[in-house]
């Protein structure tokens, strides 16, 4: 697979352990005590959206659900709140992945913005059921920062796949 459609570079296949590693790093980033900064992007949502777009056959709703449960427990929120949001985001991302990958990176970032906003909106909707508390507009800044991070994130996460294939002297091509 190529970074974008216009690129002529062909990437190596992704390594499953790297996906796992990146998801774990996102979880650690989310567990950092950053409750004082509500504008921090939801790293797990960002990484799940990224891999659902790049590798819909490796990362999908199952991983979204499991990571969502982990976030629910760690955040002391309602069970299933993050899980539902991540599952929905992963579904939409994977079904749009063929389309989104045709765009250059900047426009891919614009495509991810509504997905990340939806993650926050779903959680707001879930929490509005028992009693509405508006967490403030800064709650919606995170998705914008997440979309801005899309371009650097793509480079960092695709870095292992940019490595050249081992040279083989006997190969014709």
């Amino acid at each position: 697979m190529q970074p974008t459609f216009s690129s002529s570079r062909i990437l190596q296949p992704v390594r499953p352990w790297f996906i796992l590693f990146s998801l774990l790093v996102a979880l650690v980033l989310n567990f950092l005590p950053t409750s004082a900064w509500p504008w921090m992007p939801d790293w797990v949502a960002l990484i799940i959206v990224f891999w659902s777009i790049r590798e819909p056959r490796h990362v999908g709703m199952g991983s979204g659900f499991i990571l969502g449960l982990a976030m629910d427990v760690a955040d002391a929120s309602l069970m299933g709140q993050h899980a539902l949001a991540y599952v929905l985001a992963s579904y939409i991302a994977s079904s749009l992945s063929r389309r989104i990958l045709w765009f250059p990176l900047g426009q891919q970032a614009v495509h991810t913005l509504p997905l990340l906003l939806m993650v926050q909106l779903v959680q707001l909707g879930v929490r509005a059921m028992p009693g509405f508390v508006f967490p403030g507009l800064s709650y919606f800044i995170g998705p914008f920062i997440g979309a801005l991070l899309w371009v650097p994130l793509t480079f960092v996460l695709l870095l292992p796949q940019f490595q050249p294939v081992d040279r083989d002297a006997n190969r014709p091509i």
Binding site: L24, L27, V28, L29, N30, F31, L32, P33, T34, S35, A36, P38, R57, G60, M61, G62, G64, F65, G68, L69, A70, D72, V73, A74, D75, A76, S77, L78, M79, G80, Q81, A83, L84, V87, L88, Y91, S94, S95, V126, R127, M129, P130, G131, V133, P135, G136, Y139
Partner: protein, 309 residues
């Protein structure tokens, strides 16, 4: 015998099927968690996985904080030490007098055949972090089931009530602060002994609800726990009234308070031991038993009726 072609591009169930499965599962979890609170075991199981990851995440933060403390100047510590000594001396006369009064109170209570007051004992815990959930006000402390913490224990700091333990995990537990939305604490006004319940508003303030518009409440009134709930010990400071709106078109006054304790400052808190349960008077328990016996007899009679027919 013809062979099926091998599944070249096996992709499992259709995405929409998977979506509906996971979405239904999450909605069911949401429903059961918010209505029945029956998922504590699942929560504890998942926390066994998330707890180590959280510790990994907190390690660098702790390290930098400790490093900052290490390099902070010695004069600051000297200042702090002097201030603490002065505070201890300031409080010494009150403390000595309190001890004497407590002994006297015990003696008098014995003379009057009253039940002795329960002493406030507890264990000091360190607040680890505030939950990242922007919808609720909760903190996580570093003691859990291993230290015999149980859900419902009151939590105080040096100035007053901070909150209540709501969930207990193997190594940590979760404290819901009194400023959390709709967290209730039964209170009493010190000045005139008026009893009420104070609710969290979710924005750092508290509200005294269901007080009539002409209730005797004034700005600056101190609210302490009334102890009627059987959870909080009586007399712990909770909040101070800061703003009262008396609008005659509503039957209740709107009374806003701020917590006395440093509810949102995270440091060390004291988890008080659970309060001893006071048994109901014998007459009340007898009445309750009789009522329930009557009800069950009625139920039995109703059940038997169709059989006879």
């Amino acid at each position: 015998m013809d062979h099926q072609p091998p599944p070249f591009f096996k992709r499992g169930p259709a995405p929409l099927a998977r979506l509906s499965f996971y979405a239904t599962l999450s909605l069911a979890l949401l429903f059961f968690d918010s209505r029945f609170q029956t998922l504590e075991l699942l929560r504890q199981g998942v926390s066994l996985f998330t707890h180590p990851v959280q510790q990994v995440a907190h390690a660098p933060v702790d390290f930098f904080q400790n490093a900052g403390n290490y390099f902070s100047s010695i004069s600051r510590f000297q200042d702090e030490n002097a201030r603490l000594k002065r505070a201890q001396l300031d409080g010494a006369d009150a403390l000595l007098r309190t001890r004497q009064l407590e002994a006297e109170n015990d003696r008098l209570r014995k003379l009057l055949d009253l039940k002795g007051r329960q002493k406030a004992n507890g264990r000091v815990t360190q607040v680890l972090y505030a939950a990242r959930d922007p919808f609720s006000r909760r903190v996580i402390v570093d003691k859990g089931q291993q230290d015999q913490i149980v859900a419902g224990q009151p939590v105080v700091d040096d100035a007053g009530v901070v909150g209540q333990v709501t969930r207990v995990f193997p190594f940590v537990s979760e404290i819901t602060l009194i400023t959390d939305k709709d967290q209730a604490v039964p209170v009493q006004i010190v000045r005139n002994g008026l009893r009420s319940v104070v609710f969290g508003l979710g924005d750092g303030q508290l509200e005294l609800r269901f007080m009539p518009a002409n209730a005797d409440v004034q700005n600056g009134d101190l609210l302490v726990t009334s102890g009627l709930d059987g959870i909080f010990l009586a007399g712990l400071p909770v909040a101070k009234v800061v703003h009262i709106e008396r609008d005659t078109s509503y039957s209740f006054a709107r009374i806003y308070c701020v917590p006395v304790a440093g509810v949102e400052n995270f440091g060390e808190v004291l988890v008080l031991d659970p309060r001893e349960t006071t048994p109901l008077p014998a007459q009340l328990t007898n009445e309750a038993a009789a009522a329930s016996a009557k009800a069950s007899a009625k139920l039995g009679a109703k059940k038997k009726l169709p059989k006879r027919e």
